[in-house]
């Protein structure tokens, strides 16, 4: 009965997902153990804090970095980083 409104729902952050069809990086912070592969493979978008945990750009991954981003995602031994469609990076 709330169909029309449900379709308008933009996610709990209230941020619009319109215009961000390109994926961005998202980290599962509980899984992440700071192995650091992502920062090695994608330094353009990931750096490490003083304890080796990633600080990830929330921008959409530019086309020319998509292959590198996919490799970073595939290499994480803890499966803690992913490419999320219009998702938020946490």
């Amino acid at each position: 009965m709330f169909e029309p409104s449900a379709r308008r729902w933009q996610g709990p952050s209230g941020r619009s997902r319109v215009g961000t069809s390109r994926p961005s990086l998202a980290v599962d912070r509980i899984r992440c153990d700071g192995r650091g592969y992502c920062a090695e493979l994608l330094p353009e978008m990931v750096r490490l804090d003083d304890w080796g945990y990633p600080i990830v750009s929330s921008d959409p991954v530019p086309d020319h970095l998509l292959d590198h981003a996919r490799r970073a995602v595939a290499t994480c031994p803890l499966l803690a980083i992913r490419l999320a469609e219009g998702g938020r990076s946490r």
Binding site: M1, G14, V27, R31, D49, D50, W51, Y53, I55, R90
Partner: protein, 403 residues
């Protein structure tokens, strides 16, 4: 000026209002279902647990998912400075139950979980007694879930995980509870004060709430009569501090929004409106509605170090940035507070606290980092004084509330 709605009715000293008195005083709900959700939007009711998310939007997000669905009435109240949820559950339990029942109807949920801090035993007792007073048809839908009181246990994914498997720790999102919560079902997690406000809106409408709506504020710290005050949305900070008997003398700053809120210099604070949306636009947060003046003779650096030390101890210790980053911030603050700082400490605090937000499964690191950054601004002189090892000018090391 004093506008009672949530706490209207019999003397609060007589404890829980019986169902007969509650019904005679307020009558039946006039709005329900989709009409109630529209009224919540119209009244612009915001969640009172701390995040201030629009309540109508939250209900819609759950209603829009395939059922069956669940409602969690969140009375965990893990913020050490807040007492308003407990007071509400202890004195007006039927208002909370009304709100939970209306929410369940509006999102078409068949199960309602009362999630109340285990140590809040008077609130648990009052709520259970109130459930027993409800008609059998309604009573069957309620279930009690009591997690040990801890700072993160009221976080909505922690509430869901506790109901599911007895562990009150946050989980990674997605999925958020509205997507997959209790037993994988779409779940509405709503603070008890928000539910009580919805129960009043169901009787009086959204326009009434917009013009006359109230909120509960816990006024504590350097005031003559600390306690919970109900006041109109938009009331100034000065007025609620005044109603709590005022500070015994001059104050330099106050803590707004609890441990997840921020310090505000006294001169900037008095005219601030207690309204979640208006505060948000000034970059501040009402949080769970705590106003706590810091006495003039107490040290903001020391007090911040104490609070951040507490928050570090309350970390779920699941995410690296919270364990290491927040831990290092707490250790550095402690070092500065006792006058043993390193020359780079202030720069490190600034960088670490800027790097922390958004890097935990929940908002624990965000809240703590916000508090630290507000302290660096408001107590800039004190931090410089401490860092130069000129010692602390305050006469007493402990200030706001007690942990």
């Amino acid at each position: 000026m004093s506008a009672a709605s949530l706490l209207d009715g019999p003397d609060l000293r007589f404890e829980a209002e019986p169902v007969t008195s509650h019904l005679a005083r307020l009558g039946p709900s006039l709005l329900s279902g989709a009409a109630l959700i529209d009224a919540l939007d119209q009244g612009d009711l915001r969640g009172r647990g701390g995040a201030g998310f629009p309540v109508g939007k939250k209900w819609r997000s759950v209603a829009g998912r395939p059922g069956p669905r669940v409602v969690i009435a969140n009375g965990a109240e893990g913020e050490p400075l807040s007492f308003k949820d407990r007071l509400l559950m202890q004195t007006r339990p039927h208002l909370v139950l009304d709100g939970a029942t209306l929410a369940a109807h509006a999102v078409d949920a068949d199960q309602i979980v009362l999630y109340i801090g285990r140590e809040h035993s008077a609130a648990v007792d009052a709520m259970l007694h109130a459930v027993a007073e409800r008609p059998p048809r309604e009573r069957r839908r309620f279930q009690l879930s009591s997690a040990p009181v801890a700072y993160v246990s009221g976080e909505e994914t922690a509430a869901v995980q506790f109901v599911n498997r007895g562990v009150a720790l946050p989980t990674s999102v997605p999925p958020r509870p509205f997507e997959a919560g209790v037993r994988g079902r779409p779940t509405l997690v709503q603070n008890v004060e928000s539910l009580a406000a919805a129960a009043l809106i169901a009787r009086r409408g959204g326009a009434w709430y917009r013009s006359s709506g109230t909120l509960l504020v816990t006024v504590t710290g350097a005031v003559a009569r600390p306690g919970v005050i109900e006041t109109r949305l938009g009331t100034s900070v000065a007025e609620v501090v005044d109603r709590a008997g005022g500070p015994p003398g001059a104050i330099q700053a106050l803590l707004l929004g609890g441990y997840f809120g921020g310090w505000v210099a006294a001169d900037d604070a008095w005219d601030l409106p207690l309204d979640p949306e208006r505060l948000r636009t000034t970059g501040r947060s009402l949080g769970c509605g705590v106003v706590s003046p810091l006495p003039f003779d107490r040290c903001g650096v020391t007090e911040t170090a104490r609070i951040v030390g507490y928050l570090t101890g309350q970390s779920a210790r699941q995410c690296g940035p919270c364990v290491f980053g927040l831990g290092a911030i707490a250790a550095t603050l402690r070092r500065i507070a006792i006058g043993l700082s390193h020359p780079d400490d202030l720069a490190r605090l600034d960088r670490w606290s800027a790097e922390l937000p958004g890097r935990g499964a929940c908002r624990h690191p965000d809240g703590a980092a916000g508090l630290v950054r507000s302290a660096l601004r408001v107590f800039a002189d004190d931090f410089a004084h401490h860092s130069d090892r000129r010692g602390c000018t305050a006469t007493s090391p402990v200030a706001v509330g007690a942990v």
